[in-house]
Symmetry: C2
Subunit: 427 residues, 2 copies
Amino acid sequence: MERKEEVGKENGNSEEELRTLSDGSICGFESLHRLLESSLSPPVFKEVSRLLIGMNCGKPLEPLPIIEIAKGLSSQHDFDIQAFRFNADKELLREPRIVRVGLIQNSISLPTTAPFLDQKKAIFQKLKPIIDAAGASGVNILCLQEAWTMPFAFCTREKRWCEFAEPVDGESTQFLQGFARKYNMVIVSPILERDLKHGETMWNTAVIIGNNGNIIGKHRKKIKLLQMKCQNHIPRVGDFNESTYYMEGNTGHPVFETAFGKIGVNICYGRHHPLNWLAFGLNGAEIVFNPSATVGELSEPMWPIEARNAAIANSYFVGSINRVGTEVFPNPFTSGDGKPAHADFGHFYGSSHVSGPDASCTPSLSRNKDGLLISDMDLNLCRQLKDKWGFRMTARYEVYADMLSRYVKPDFEPQVISDPLLHKNHV
Amino acid sequence: MERKEEVGKENGNSEEELRTLSDGSICGFESLHRLLESSLSPPVFKEVSRLLIGMNCGKPLEPLPIIEIAKGLSSQHDFDIQAFRFNADKELLREPRIVRVGLIQNSISLPTTAPFLDQKKAIFQKLKPIIDAAGASGVNILCLQEAWTMPFAFCTREKRWCEFAEPVDGESTQFLQGFARKYNMVIVSPILERDLKHGETMWNTAVIIGNNGNIIGKHRKKIKLLQMKCQNHIPRVGDFNESTYYMEGNTGHPVFETAFGKIGVNICYGRHHPLNWLAFGLNGAEIVFNPSATVGELSEPMWPIEARNAAIANSYFVGSINRVGTEVFPNPFTSGDGKPAHADFGHFYGSSHVSGPDASCTPSLSRNKDGLLISDMDLNLCRQLKDKWGFRMTARYEVYADMLSRYVKPDFEPQVISDPLLHKNHV
């Protein structure tokens, strides 16, 4: 967090826009991919891309054309827009199952000192043209970022930010239901949830809105708690004081069968847990979204690794979303690192992207500005990769079911084989 | 495998050495890292490195000096040599625990048509100076590549290559025991094992030789089967016809407590299974080796992702080793892909590297030539990362013990929540 980053408005990456900071590092580039593209000769860039973001059906990932109305909204409202297509092999007994998926990343709109209602309304206003661009582009499933209705204020440990929490059928859901109906679009909406039927406790929740505008599961009262997906793993690191606000989720690892495919939602810190990713896979997910809020110095080199590994290991697609920008709070806070109090959480580096089950990956959206990433994906690729690599078949889950059952017992003894000469040497 | 690769002898990466192939791709570069280093301006390379291979204690990974004798052996015998240091924070109640780890990658030495005894001896001769370079450099724990005594002949499905199999205390172990004693060095030796006490069956096995030249566990007859580590997951993909030769291992996930730290061995295809990596972590490993044999078109973009994810998720170091070169066999074979018979398996792309628990990673060894990678690692970093990120603490293993126990039952029902309007629409 000490390295000052300038949040620029540059688009593209001519070397002129790069600035060198006092510590010799650079800033002002939009993304790793664009930085490499502008710095390397085309054949070198091609080989570097093959090594870094893989190949899809033996070729580099295909860019998709972007329709004029979306381009217009993008330049008018200054958000990044990129689009790609994941192909699959043609099958003889199954038609292609192509789904168009959209990811939105954004910064907050007003300073955190503005009245809460104004802050919230301003975010809604900011998102409107981006959601319209997605809808007009024919996106089937859209996912927003974690806690999208509010600044990521958990770093402050101040409870007044709890006011941003909403019930599952609250204002933000109603706002999105309109778009879902208008565009026949499934929308995944990660919010801070106020659970009115459980003593007004809070959860970090993703509401799944069906393409008819319905909250999926709404009419199945018996499984009320399964209507949404709560965060399964809560961080205890850095300024992510989220455990101060809500508990680990109690909704399991539901997979939602929507009109356009089976989706799961792995919220934020859950991406660090391979077992969490696995559970969505075992429940049949074909696309797992990872709406997140994470900052540069802490996690940026891990960001593509964990998502891509999950996509590979589980033979599904992963859509990773991170918010953008630096949020400055009214009251300074310390970070448990012995350093002086400060008022911001660091730079949320955006870089939203989609990972394929075949180890291919889209370039990332901007590190600095709002963005919409559109990806066509033939869901047939999931089973094709299962058939090719056989990870599910060769996984020996019974070995691990047994091991984990033993591990969670207080008297678990690790399987350690000591060199018998070791202790002899030490005598 | 269709893209022809030329196995060059170039060192470094001046643009002159790069050659463009008929499909517009390039070859002739030693590694992604060197290619980027020679193609990018220093500040851009610095930022790209930060994003790609992370930071260690807030700084780029430190290169280690290489001693003259090792440099001499490297140029005399034409193998790549690189060395790096993973630092940890200074603790007040624990001394640093710095271990020097060596990884060796190599091609075979004679054509696969040579008499088997000559082939094997030639590999021993080829390895001698590389092991000497490691020993002279003060390496504490050395790991060789998978099935290092032989060509990776499983692609042929011909059983005559079984002749290369050896008992755990066979010729290759005896060869390495001399080095272990001479250099006070633990050696991990992955071989095709002939199990004389179990009907001469074969295993894909790593023999763990202690720094006194003993086979660790040798004197503990009761746990004979735990003396070594057998491959837990066997591929059923491409030309990896290994399941024709040996079964999944039955030795669990042992962690070996050596004079220099607790190590595990995750052989080859086991790297695709996050649960396999996890099990070594739960048993207390601080370094997990992944001796492998894998080829370009199939796995190269996955290669760094899976190892680094394992290091991050489990808060330990991972040493990844892949063999080098193209091995051509006497009799052509088909690959189950409808294409004509061919006599080689593709290009083993080397690229051995070490991943740290803090998401940092060494650059990779050459894609084309033999190599020795030396890494100093302060093992204190493992616990420091556990304390920082709390992945073990927040993992909720009881949830997954339960889920896997249910999953392995034939009547398992995935947790799926269907949009109630979905089937209505379809009616």
